[in-house]
Symmetry: none
Subunit: 198 residues, 4 copies
């Protein structure tokens, strides 16, 4: 419970100030604990940060797998359902999601304990292969042209990540709201249309 409270506090602070900008004291204040208390639950700032990323990565992986394993939907419907799944994750915790997408890269992964690092990497592997399975199946069923399914999955993932990050940038100079959801859907629409035979 304490752990949870600290993670929630850290989520807010990291998202607002970035990893380096966030201080343990900021987080402690937000969680209404003493800084020292944080070190009872987390070995250090890095591990706290990693735990947080892992949380978000788990949600992401879960959402994607949920969509891919729905028995009531056909391939094309599953693909159509992806943007909404993405968007739900975004809606639930936009700041933390952006944060994770930004810091997921190798730079930030250096210096973590090997277990945590590999856990993070595994999550990434997991959701990319879930998505790519979808396209592989579509190709096998003869719905799609034959493209490398992992490449297509990379593209879908990249649009997702890219649009979320880009929304943040755009907010600064183009106050148009809520373009994300519809743009996500449009992107997947275009891509799957682009894949389809005929």
């Amino acid at each position: 419970m304490r752990r949870k409270a600290i993670l929630d506090a850290a989520k807010k602070v990291f998202a607002t100030k970035g990893f380096a900008g966030a201080t343990i004291e900021n987080i402690a204040e937000q969680a209404e604990f003493s800084p020292a208390t944080i070190y009872i639950y987390f070995k250090n700032k890095d591990e706290l940060h990693a735990s947080l990323s892992l949380q978000m990565l788990n949600i992401l992986a879960q959402k994607v797998e949920d969509v891919c394993q729905r028995k009531d939907l056909g391939i094309e419907e599953k693909i159509k359902a992806l943007p909404l799944a993405f968007y739900e994750v975004y809606e639930r915790d936009p700041l933390n999601l952006m944060h994770v997408l930004r810091y997921q890269s190798s730079e930030a992964l250096k210096g973590l304990s090997p277990e945590v690092e590999s856990e993070i990497r595994n999550k990434a592997r997991q959701y990319i292969s879930a998505i790519s399975n979808l396209f592989e199946e579509g190709i096998r069923q003869g719905l799609f042209y034959k493209h490398h399914p992992v490449a297509v999955a990379d593209i879908v993932w990249a649009v997702f990540a890219g649009l979320v990050l880009w929304e943040d940038t755009k907010k600064g100079f183009d106050p148009q709201k809520d373009f994300l959801k519809s743009t996500l859907e449009l992107s997947v629409d275009l891509i799957s249309r682009g894949l389809k035979k005929e």
Copy 2:
């Protein structure tokens, strides 16, 4: 020339260590100056960083506009040429590009001098509208279905940024090389195929 040398040094250091991880002393060492000298040419670390981003952003905007304004190409050919333009920018300075894409977000823009901030924002506006003009023209010519051209430009930009960042993440667990160029092309292929009437 001094300014240039500092920027070059900073580029390397920021790309390797991230913004917070890089110290002015690191940069000064790399540039073979004293730390104090840097403050003659740049107001502070933030402005130095921003100048650097601006440099990259200028290159990006230039490349995109170059493609868009080529008289010898049709709309579709211009669109096809975009991924290569992107890729050339990437190839020239991958670390710095990734860095900029990551830090371009609003978080990093806070605290900059208003002039620099608006200059950065303007560049973003500039290349997005260059791309969106392309699609608008395509729609006007009846080649494409009618979608909001800015949304399509956002998507194209997002795939680009997303794939570059994603390549960095993937490097950690999937040592497959050089997927970026072909995936970039594939993405634009799919998107423009998805847009096309019939």
Copy 3:
């Protein structure tokens, strides 16, 4: 019994890590208690440390007095017996002995409760006067030249303490073993030969 267990644990930890380097948690771990438990039996880290020193000091004083009060030995034999007594104390717990000899000084005694402090000082007084009585008696018996007996006792004590500490230093660069016992004996030999008339 609890107190004893804690003291034993503390002995090990202090000897290995020094006073400042040892943490209450280290000691608690070693004793298989919780840190809080230690505070039931000892007012604070300083008192715990002092208790430990006192233990060692008691053993020392006891050994010295045992030798001095043996009825079966003459003065010179008693003096000859001192180095072995010293060495037995060393052998029993070398790390802790060195620790005590190092921290016995005034520096470490500041900040202790007055009772503990005076108890420690009394022990020191006790064994020094036991040794000095020996030499006083020797002088009275006309065996030794007249030197201030306390000064001689100081010297004997100093060689003892000095050799023990020095053995620790030497271990670092001169791996010769077990020089201590014979050197102790030699030192007392030389000193008493130096004292003897004729």
Copy 4:
């Protein structure tokens, strides 16, 4: 010069509060600098401490060698001159000397950079062999009984160190002043008398 000032300040503070008890801030205050300044001249607290010890060790080694190499003195006179040499070192900086004697042991040497560590060890080797050469020569000249000269040197060194440390302890309960000089001389008197043939 700055380095020197810091070393002087550190000397005082370490001697008063011990290594762990001394804070960089204490030292900075004493030196009338900011704590950060100290880190310009010394890599960290450990190196500062080692530098200090080295200084004292150098003085010690120098003094001892000076005595041993005086051409105007015979063996016995040189030995007689040792306590004064010791005492001069003590007089010049008693607190720091005690500190070094206490912390010279292996415990404190762990964690230093190998160069500094071996430099410290070499100094110890140096003065011990200077002293032992003295006794070796005395034995060769037939003045002394044949004892292992290194053992005798160890004893002389140990009395010296032991008496200095012991003086500190005694100060607490026996305010008699200036016993050190005469006791040092007495100790060497006794030892060399003990060594002498006939």
